[in-house]
């Protein structure tokens, strides 16, 4: 059995020379739910973009430094594997407006299955199931543009659930949500069975829904362990700009 996510000694600099990740190693077992926390600019989003090759894909000439290695669902991160990796990792971006680019909710959720060449009947089934898991079945015909923020977030998650991914990666899913919508989203994340890596500032949600927590700061992983333990360490939280909940 392989790990869902295996990252070893990953370093990354943006083209302007700004170093975003330094020697990051992270292993996540299938079915694990892990929270990724840390201040703005700590490298969380950069790390997430490596999980389905968006950043590596842009820089094929980037010299791999020695033993640097990224393996996702047993597939080494290489250009020839990108298609399968992207089908296996559902990446939900922070701003649902980026995610929803089709005129209607149905077309957006159907994008991945259609792209993968599934038959119309299969696409229909996948879209129905994905919308059902986020409890938005009634929204298929709606115009993505006219939805509320909470609705858009749910639809954004449905757009990757329709790929039936092995791993779900979310970037700040609860940012900007009202308490009721946030509650519904947390319940949804707890229900979904797949491996999950969620970047967030919402430590209350982390305490509730994510047994494991990884803290990043200045491009490094500075702590990785059981959530209860790390949240009890006041000095650690303070050093990395986090507030106790």
């Amino acid at each position: 059995m392989h790990h869902s996510i295996e990252i070893d000694h990953l370093s990354f600099s943006y083209p302007d020379g700004h170093s975003a990740l330094q020697d990051v190693s992270l292993h996540i077992e299938p079915g694990e739910k892990v929270a990724l926390v840390g201040p703005n600019g700590a490298g969380k989003s950069t790390l997430i973009l490596h999980l389905n090759g968006i950043l590596l894909a842009n820089l094929p000439q980037k010299k791999a430094s020695g033993d640097s290695r990224v393996t996702v669902c047993g597939l080494p991160m290489e250009p020839k594997n990108l298609g399968r990796i992207r089908a296996a990792v559902g990446l939900v971006f922070q701003n649902p407006d980026d995610q929803l680019f089709s005129p209607t909710v149905f077309e957006d959720v159907a994008f991945s299955p259609l792209y993968q060449g599934l038959s119309p009947a299969e696409v229909e089934v996948r879209v129905k199931a994905a919308l059902a898991s986020v409890r938005m079945e009634a929204y298929a015909k709606r115009i993505s543009h006219h939805l509320s923020m909470g609705e858009k977030k749910r639809i954004a998650i449905a757009t990757v659930l329709s790929m039936q991914p092995e791993v779900l990666v979310l970037d700040e899913p609860t940012a900007g949500l009202d308490p009721r919508t946030r509650r519904a989203l947390i319940n949804l994340l707890r229900e979904l069975p797949m491996t999950m890596l969620v970047s967030t500032h919402d430590l209350a949600m982390v305490r509730e829904a994510f047994p494991r927590m990884v803290i990043m700061d200045e491009g490094r992983i500075v702590a990785d362990g059981p959530t209860q333990e790390l949240l009890a360490n006041d000095a650690l939280l303070e050093t990395h700009g986090l507030e106790k909940v």
Binding site: R84, A87, V89, F93, L100, S102, S144, V160
Partner: protein, 268 residues
């Protein structure tokens, strides 16, 4: 993810960079005007124009290659001058039969076409040098100072400011699409969908981008109103135009005027 390559300004230290933006702006416009007023086929004058540009390119530290590479952007526009080749009457160069018509190219037409191509190429280079040596905000101030309507300058400014935002937005959307473009492990499936379907997706993306741009413009306008915008763009007074800048301006304009007279006198 941000876009920087759209900004043409190259921060360097050079005598050209340190010139007053107003002088540079006026001289660039004057250069373009002179180039377009110079008679056709005044080849020696064109060479003088080119040598002026070359010296500025070298003094500014931009390098000739940098400007020439960017100037190739003007090539497609030169094509619009192609009909001149056939519409000017004169000594026949060659003829192309098109159906029942015959297109006749003349030597005069060819001369005129090459002249237009060279002039636009020279003008584009001048504009590239201006934008590479002057920060855009200073350029806007210069435009305002020489009396270009404030509303127009305000529009240029907002366009420049939000172009980057819009491009960032488009890039993020394309990234989200790439993240969901996976392959199925099942054998025998054609990945990527049909061309028509992909075109429809791209059309949807363009539409979303338009709608968001439209809504953002509304939000920006409301934010401007809430800070007291009344249709008038105000700014701090500009620093005084120094004697050195006047000298540069006068010398440049005189030189361009002489070139123009030279061209009109011998080839006009």
């Amino acid at each position: 993810m941000h876009i920087h390559f759209l900004d043409p300004y190259r921060p360097l230290l050079s005598p050209i960079h340190s010139q007053d933006a107003r002088a540079k702006f006026v001289l660039t416009v004057a250069f373009i005007l002179t180039a377009s007023l110079t008679p056709f086929a005044a080849w020696p004058v064109y060479i003088l124009f080119f040598s002026v540009l070359l010296s500025v390119e070298i003094i500014s530290g931009l390098g000739v290659g940098y400007v020439l590479k960017r100037a190739s952007l003007a090539l497609p526009f030169v094509l619009s001058a192609l009909p001149v080749l056939f519409t000017v009457h004169g000594q026949t160069l060659f003829a192309i039969p098109v159906g029942s018509w015959v297109l006749t190219a003349s030597v005069e037409g060819l001369e005129r076409f090459i002249s237009i191509a060279l002039k636009s190429w020279l003008s584009v280079q001048a504009a590239i040098i201006l934008s590479a040596c002057t920060p855009f905000p200073e350029l806007l101030q210069a435009m305002r100072a020489v009396g270009i309507p404030r509303l127009l300058v305000g529009m240029f400014g907002l366009m420049w400011r939000y172009l980057f935002v819009l491009v960032d937005e488009a890039l993020r959307m394309m990234r989200a699409r790439a993240a969901r473009s996976g392959e199925n492990t099942g054998a025998g499936r054609k990945v990527g969908g049909s061309v028509a379907w992909r075109a429809r997706v791209t059309g949807g993306m363009a539409g979303s981008l338009f709608l968001r741009g439209f809504e953002r413009s509304d939000r920006i306008y409301v934010a401007m109103l809430s800070r007291g915008y009344d249709g008038e763009v105000r700014s701090l007074p500009l620093p005084p135009f120094t004697g050195r800048s006047w000298l540069t301006l006068a010398a440049g304009l005189t030189f361009l005027g002489l070139l123009l007279l030279f061209g009109i006198f011998f080839w006009g």
